[in-house]
Structure formats: C-alpha cells, structure tokens
Symmetry: C2
Subunit: 538 residues, 2 copies
Amino acid sequence: MNDKLNGAEAMLTSLVGAGVEVCFANPGTSEMQMVAALDRVDGMRPVLALFEGVASGAADGYGRMADKPAATVLHMGPGLSNAMANLHNAQRAQTPMVNLIGDHASAHLQFDAPLTADIKGQAKTVCHQVKTCKSASNLPHDAIEIVQAAKTNEGQVCSLIIPANTAWEDSASVEVTPIQFAKKKVPLLRIQAIADILKNDQCNAMLLGGKALREEGLKAAGRIFKATGTRILNETLPARRKRGAGVFPTETVPYLAEIAIQFLKPFDNIVLAGAKAPVGFFAYPNVPSQLHSEHTSLPLLCAIDEDITDALITLAKILNATEDADTQPRITPPAPRNELCPMGVGAILAECMPENTIVVDEANTASLAIHPMTQGAARHDILGLTGGSIGIGLPMALGAAIACPDRKVICLEGDGSGMYTPQALWSIARENLDVTVVILKNNSYAILDLELQRTGAKVAEGNASKARSLLSLENPTLDWIKLSEGMGVPATNASTVAQFRHQFSQAMNTRGPRLIQATLIKVDLAAAMAELMKLQTP
Amino acid sequence: MNDKLNGAEAMLTSLVGAGVEVCFANPGTSEMQMVAALDRVDGMRPVLALFEGVASGAADGYGRMADKPAATVLHMGPGLSNAMANLHNAQRAQTPMVNLIGDHASAHLQFDAPLTADIKGQAKTVCHQVKTCKSASNLPHDAIEIVQAAKTNEGQVCSLIIPANTAWEDSASVEVTPIQFAKKKVPLLRIQAIADILKNDQCNAMLLGGKALREEGLKAAGRIFKATGTRILNETLPARRKRGAGVFPTETVPYLAEIAIQFLKPFDNIVLAGAKAPVGFFAYPNVPSQLHSEHTSLPLLCAIDEDITDALITLAKILNATEDADTQPRITPPAPRNELCPMGVGAILAECMPENTIVVDEANTASLAIHPMTQGAARHDILGLTGGSIGIGLPMALGAAIACPDRKVICLEGDGSGMYTPQALWSIARENLDVTVVILKNNSYAILDLELQRTGAKVAEGNASKARSLLSLENPTLDWIKLSEGMGVPATNASTVAQFRHQFSQAMNTRGPRLIQATLIKVDLAAAMAELMKLQTP
C-alpha cells in the first residue's frame, strides 16, 4: 500500500492552499487522476461544463467577480481549442485564471496518438504565461507558480500543461502558500506630470479602463472631475464596471467608430488610466483606425497592467481633490410602447433590477439601446465583451453566480451569440444558480446587418440574397423556450412590454435559474442608427 | 463607377473555377466583403453554421464524401479557435479543406483592437499549410494555391488568412484553373519488397488506413488475402470505410489497448498500408504505448500521405492476386431484448439501413457494441472520429449530406459528445437534409466511466463523489427532444426495441431531418467489458 499523495493530489492540495477553490471542468481520460483527486482532497468545488468554452467563460466571470482565479480543467489540445475563444476574452479582460490542461503521459507523446497536438503552441496565443510540468514532484510547485502568475499585475490568464504520468506518479511534496496579487505601482513622477496636465485650462478627459471602473477608482475619478472639470470616460467594453444610482457616472466611448470620432474630437488631452488608446473595433474603407483627433494628446497615467486604483487615489490627492462629485440619480424611464423593443427591455430592467445585481452583457446591437435606459437603475456591476469574441455571455453568468451566490445575476444575451455556448444553461440548472437569462430575440445577426451597411458592400435584395441568408436566423427560427427547457432551465416567452414586465419582475422576486425569451419587434436599422447617434452623443 | 472585381469577388470566382462549390460559414465584420460577393459571383453554395466548430466539422464530412475541398469562412482568431477542434480531426483524417479566415485590414493590426489575435500561430497547430494574403491582386492566386495545397497527397487542411482590405480593394486578375489531386506514388521497389514478405510462410497481416478502406482498396486487399492468407486489418477510427454486405470484411484493431495487444500478438509482420503503427489511444500506468509485440515487424507499404489505392492494386498484381475474396454476407442479428441497449440499436440498424447509407459514428462506448451488429448490414460508408476530439458527429452529418444529397445519412451520436456542437441540428433543418440522428442516451460520459476504471484511480462511492459528478449527465438530464425541436428538427423518444424499430424504420422510409432519442437501459460496465472482450477478439 502507498500512502503518498500522487501528483494530482499534491497539486490539488497546493491549489486549495493557494486560494483556488472552484474549477470549471470538462475532463477526459488524461485528466482522470485530477478528477479522482477531488474525492480525496477537500476544498475544491468542481463544476461540470458540457463544452470547454463554457468552462473558460465561466472561469472568466468568476475571476472578474471574485478577484481571484478559478481553475479550468481541459482535455488536451482539442479541449484547449474549444476553450480558446473565451480565453481570448479573458486575456483582454486581465482576468486572473489558471488552466489545468492534461496531456498524454510524456513517454506516450512520441507515438503521435490521435489526440496529440501542439498544446503549448495553442496556449501561447491566448495566455499571458504557459508552463509544462516535467515531473510529479514538480507539479505542486508548478501549480503554485501558475497561481502566482495569474495574480500578477492586474490579473493574467495562465496555463499549466500536465502530462498524465505527472498526475499519477508519486509526488514528493505539497506546498501550501497563500498568494497575494503582485501589483506594479505607477511611478509618482508620472502621476505628478498628469496632475500638471489636468490643472491646465485645456479641454481634458480621462479614459478609464480595467479596475479604474470599480467603486474606489470611480470615486477618485469623480473627485478629480469635481476639482478640475476633467471629463471622465470609460472604455467601450469594460471587463467590469460599477454603474447606476449612487455611482459617479462615466461616459462610454461609443462602439461605432464614426460616432466615437465625433465624441472624442473636442479633447486636447485624453489621459489613459488603465485603458488603451481608443481604436476602431474594426477597420472600414476610408475610416481612420485611431479614434482621437490629430490635435489630441494621449498622456499615460497608468498602463493596463499597472495598479490603477492606487494611481487614481494618488492623483486625486496630488490635485487636492477631496470633494465627492454628484452621483447618478435613480431614474426609471418609461417603457416606450407596447410591442417589445430593446429600449422597452431596458426600461423594465431599470424599473425592476434589485440593488447589487450583476449584469452580464452580450446583447450586442440590443445593448446599444438598453444601456442608456439602465443608466439610472439601482447600482449594479456590468460585465462586458472585452475581446469581442461572442459566446461568453451565458458562461460568464454561470461563473459570476458561482462567485457571488448572494447576488442576482442577469444575462442579456443575443439569440445569435447565445447559440455559441448554449450548454452553459445546463450547468446553471445543475448548480441551481440565481441567474435570469434574457434572450433578445430578433432572429438575425443584427450586428452584422449593421456592419454589412457600414462596409459599403452591395448585396441583392430580398430572399434571393445568399449574403442576407448568412445574417438571418430565420428558417427555422430558434425556439429558446425549448432549448432552455431541454437543458433544465424553466423558460417563458414575452412579446409585449406588459408580458416582459410581469415575467421579469417575477424573476427578480424569486431565486433560481430562469430564462425569458424577449421576442423583439422588427427594427429599421437606418432609423435606429439615427436614434443611436442622438443617444450616444454626450 | 467601378466595374473591376474587388479581391473578395476575384477570389470567389477563382475558387469556383477551381471546383470549390460549397462554403460552411460563420462570418463577421471582417468577412462582409466575402459575404457580399456571394450575391455577385455564381456557383458557390453558402451554408450558415451557428458555431464555427459546426462549419469545420461539416467541411470535414463534405471533404471525406466528395473527395474535394469545401471552404469554411471563419471570423478572425476567435472564429478559428472555435473551429480548431474539428480541424484537428480533419487533419488526422487527411481531409482536403480550405479555410478562409478573415483578419483586420493590414493597417489596422498595429492598433491591437479587441479581436486581434495570432491567427497564423493558431492555424499552424491544426493545418498542413497556412498562408497570409498580402494584397487584393494576390488574393485570387493565393486562393488557387491553397486549393492546390488542399488537394496534395491524400488531402490536406489548409488555411488562407485574408486581411479585410485585400477583400475590399480592387483585384488585378482572376485565375480559373481546375485543380487535380497531386498524388505521391509509392516506389515500385518498396511494393516488391512487401510482396516478398507476404509470400513467406510467417503469420502476416496488413493494416489498412485512409483511402485503402474505400471500394477499390478493399477489393485489392481482398485479393491479396485470397492469394496469400494475409489477414487484413483496419485502423481503429478510419476517416471513411466501406463496409457491409458485398464488401470484403476487414478486422478492426480494437480501441481498448489491453484487447488490441492480445489481438495483434500473433503476427510476425504487420504491413502498414496508409496506417500508422498501432498505438494506444491514451497511456495508462503499466500498459505499453505500442500495441504490437516485440517480435512483430512493421514493414511500410505506404505512408498516410502516399497514393494508397495505387499501391494496393500494384501489390495485388505483383502477387498475381486476381481472384476476389469472399465478401461479407448479409446478416440481420436478432435484437437481444425489449429494453433498448446499444446492441439492440445495432440490430435494428442492420435490419433497416438502406443500401448506400452514410453512417457518421460518434457514439463512442455505444459504438463498441453497435459495430459488431452492423457488420452484415446493407453496404454503407462509415465516418469515424479520426482525431479523438468529440463534437464532430452532428457537423459531419451535415457536411456529408450536403456532399451526397441522394444518400441517407445516419448520425450515431452520444448524449455527451452531441452537446459539443448541437448547433449543427439547426443547419440540418435549414438545409432540409436527409439526416436521421440517433442520440444514444445513457446520461453519462460512459467512455469516461470506463476510462476512470482503466486508470486505476480510486474514487468515492455514490452521490457523495465529486469525481463521479463530473462524469454524469444527470441532474438535470438532457431532453434531446426539446433541444432538437428548438432547432427545428422533429424528434421522438424510443425506450424499447419496438419503439426504436418503429421510429427508425419510419425514418428510413421517409426523407428529411429527424432525431430519435434512444434512451438506453443502464449497463454494468464491468460485465459489458467482458462481453466486449469476446466480441472484439477475432
């Protein structure tokens, strides 16, 4: 008999000791020792995902809300491949995350068995750091190292490749080390230089990104606004943003490049505070990539991997900015009409969302109209599509709900983007999470209808158009009620404002998983664009 | 006005001229010019997939059945990421395939917009060849080059990265060149050497893979068997294998390493004919990776990228092997009992499958019991899980049905593996394809239950086991009827042999998409393993 821990058990013990308490898993044969170890080591909660993109998206949602890494358990190259699109989003969000990727036993690799793949080559494209474990005795230490890497700077996506033999062989040691974030401080001289700029009499703005959009950062930014008049902007698709009544309101840089260019034109200086220089989401013929004017300077306060909160607080102090700015008042705009449109959904959200809700936002075109309506809703956190890779909404809601069991989670999801990772609904049902999913159903990739117009490409009219058939979700339309029920989440349809209000307020007043299919009226995109132009302009 | 073709139009014209007639697409903004070009260039059939893994799996199924490449249209790095697991399978299958991957306009890349990713780095891990287009005028030629690369050797997975500006700018030229497969011939001396081996009096076998398992290759192999007594084996998970009544029957190398080792033990020589040396799918403690005995030689007739059919025909000639071997007789084994089990499903398949059916096989554990039952079914093609990455079954059925509109397609799908890419059902409904999906529903990752036993890992018993919770698809169970109907495919449940026979024979006698949820009785895995040992032994 052997009482020693094997590699998998020693690793798991070390991970739990380092504060990693949840893993989102879709294991295969090469991960069976890690799976078995869950029964012999206490403290790790495994959540099964039926597709790896659900696991990685959930770990992102968890990391954003818990401010510490969850693990994923992925099956070799193909498991990693399936997780990669949401790892891309997580990397852009600076989310702390630890991916445990099984591989063949080291001695087996040379035989090129069917599942053999270049795991390291794949992982490097979406991770801040990748390491391959060499032996069972190294495995606990490697795990600690990868947790530390994940908690470096503002958060990093890190992967450990674990050959099966390093999991099943005996391990020499266990490391138990609680791990803190290793933050990179902004040099004081740089903060002072920014203070000098904000004291001049030019037209100044500060663009916040990353952790600047949390409670503390926003409070400091509000004081800076109050003291200097600096306009406070936020990046278009933030990882996590505090928002709503009682919070200092920042202005979002518009998604559409044409509008963003107008929006940014007045500024002489746009101070970058945890955000990159604003650029177009895509390029278009005859539209510039950089969204700021030639006359605008972009002085750097804080890079995306530096300690943003500390820099903002220090900057406010240097500026003697001690007086709080006015915060957003509570507003519940009237719902516009009886047929359901995104603005109607937004109005009901503003009316019914409880304090402290987590809103996961992947409603794309619909969000453009929902957001202005929820500006004065009860205070909430909103999680965005940082990397532009759709298919993270439902998984992120799963992960956020695991991280924050006492908070209501609302997932605003497009009918097109929801179909990338619908399997998350099953995990939400299995874990009995307090998540209300709202499917914004317009039976099309509406964002692409818009983009097709913007590229200036000419297509045929009507049903004969092959091009249009690729943007349509009709013939057949998706029935999200059946899809949801098929995975164990109760679901209803709402086609009018009254129906939506009734179902949504009911969902807000009860706990547990729930899906509402919000069937939207057809919208004229050209008219909607014109309306948006008005809404998005400050 | 400008009458010139833009890059996208010129490329599309060239692709159609080179014989690429179908594209499986999930486009985004950077691909809008390709989408628009579909309305202005004739001859390309676009099929919308709601997830990129569906597009790549469908292109694989199409390529295996049509023996020419389909295109995929993928949106940048994340679109490619989602397609990668099935590209891995396609690469292992030697399927000809052309991936058209949009990227940002070249001038936009430097700004690191949210969707920017290392597309080339990702593509290289799952493609035989990757090229980035430099300009609109190069695009048509690049497209031709990539089609030629796809039709090199026995088929290759190739990708062209297309910056958006090369699609929207004017193109100088169109190339129209029909493209043939560029085959690599096996040297005659090598074939003669193999002939000498097969004429000796040792215990010889020949292991067929790739195109050796088509009609012509099997006929030649049968003659070699008849003339020399050489046992004719086939690789465990072939890309496409002709099988059933009237076809020379080959013997499958068992999936389970322990059984395969016994199976291969008697042979002095195993001639490799388009197959690699047999190795374990995974490694296990104390089980060798190589499955053949130390005393066995593995002489090479033909590598996996060489012209296998030609080599087998030549070998038969050299051996004066002109007499056809006996072919498989038609057998319809009785269905074992009233409760539905995989063997019962297999028996009904053998009874009802029409001649020329295409069977897509991703039923994993269930297949181990189904296969022996369908050996004497009407002749059919069976498409397997070449790369071991689950989630290809439903997409491959989609692609095979597009390639062969006059043939019935049956997809044998696990309830676990089906959840990786269920979105394929929607495309099957939209294209109104003649596909019958059979979901083998055992409410678990049964293959992993098996694998957990094999790794020797010890886990807790009963519901308390976290480990077992990761292998179970219960709480809630999946309702494939609702999932299927939610995507527009009519569905029914069968829990008895009588119900399954009724529904399946009805499906065989009508056209159009259809799903049958075959709810299986619980099976004792240990007992099943013992039974399999008997079935799989020659």
